[in-house]
Symmetry: C3
Subunit: 123 residues, 3 copies
Amino acid sequence: MIISVGTDLVSIARFKQAMIRTDGFLKRVFTPDELKLENGEPRAAISLAGIFAAKESIAKALGAPDGLSWQDCQIKYADSGRPEVKVTGRIAELASLKGITNWHLSISHDAELAIAFVVAEGK
Amino acid sequence: MIISVGTDLVSIARFKQAMIRTDGFLKRVFTPDELKLENGEPRAAISLAGIFAAKESIAKALGAPDGLSWQDCQIKYADSGRPEVKVTGRIAELASLKGITNWHLSISHDAELAIAFVVAEGK
Amino acid sequence: MIISVGTDLVSIARFKQAMIRTDGFLKRVFTPDELKLENGEPRAAISLAGIFAAKESIAKALGAPDGLSWQDCQIKYADSGRPEVKVTGRIAELASLKGITNWHLSISHDAELAIAFVVAEGK
């Protein structure tokens, strides 16, 4: 049973501007684990834009209520490269309230755009 | 159970050209409620392009048969900003014939593109 | 029950470059049936880019393991224009292993981008 879906399109150029111009943007939106790769190197802007699109998609699938924390929705890449969703805090509460038991997420980007889409599944 | 899915990508620039160049375009594609916001102001082109992408996605999920009326598929935004689908007339008949009971829709746009995707669910 | 989802965004310009610059690209990625239209004419690059995005989406939904053959995932357009997925060989084996029984696919493109998304459904 599908509870809801969400999609988000992110301009890489505008995302990079937000990174540069908005104080504390990266630390507010991303968790420490998201900001770096497995090898400890910083994650590239294009990949962060994809994670940003994923978080927006998930917020939309929850009805985009006010006051969500970006940190309560973490995207982690499995070894295969498949993105996985881990929700905590208020986002986990909301998801549970809506009966969501599984998040199915996919992310893609080319040079200029990142896109994510998510299907929230329940029982 | 998923009956079908649909997605559509719309260039905002080309959508604006259609708005300007094609007589009667807006009144043919959108219902009076879609053309204005809650406060009575006209809906911006970028938001109309998103609704257009949603209608195209839904037509694709139905197999894009000839002779559908754009007016038989209305997109309404809930207070939360979540888009909801209401089908009437021939589109409602086709959806019923295919066993579709729920439409799960999400829309996104940046400055240049609008995208929609829909999952048609049945029982 | 949803097993997984996949999406892919393809720049038409970069796809055309790959067509020109990469020896054997078309014959490696597409089956003979995909390369031509029903009437025998060659399929346009923009439409091939959409099929490419579809194949990438399906690979992502399978976890993008190494060693998949592009030829084991064929996209065929029904008379209605709806794209259908036919998997063979190792891709069919993997899909079966994951319990995937249905592929729900949609493709869209404008002048510059092609996008596909797929929902892999099981029982």
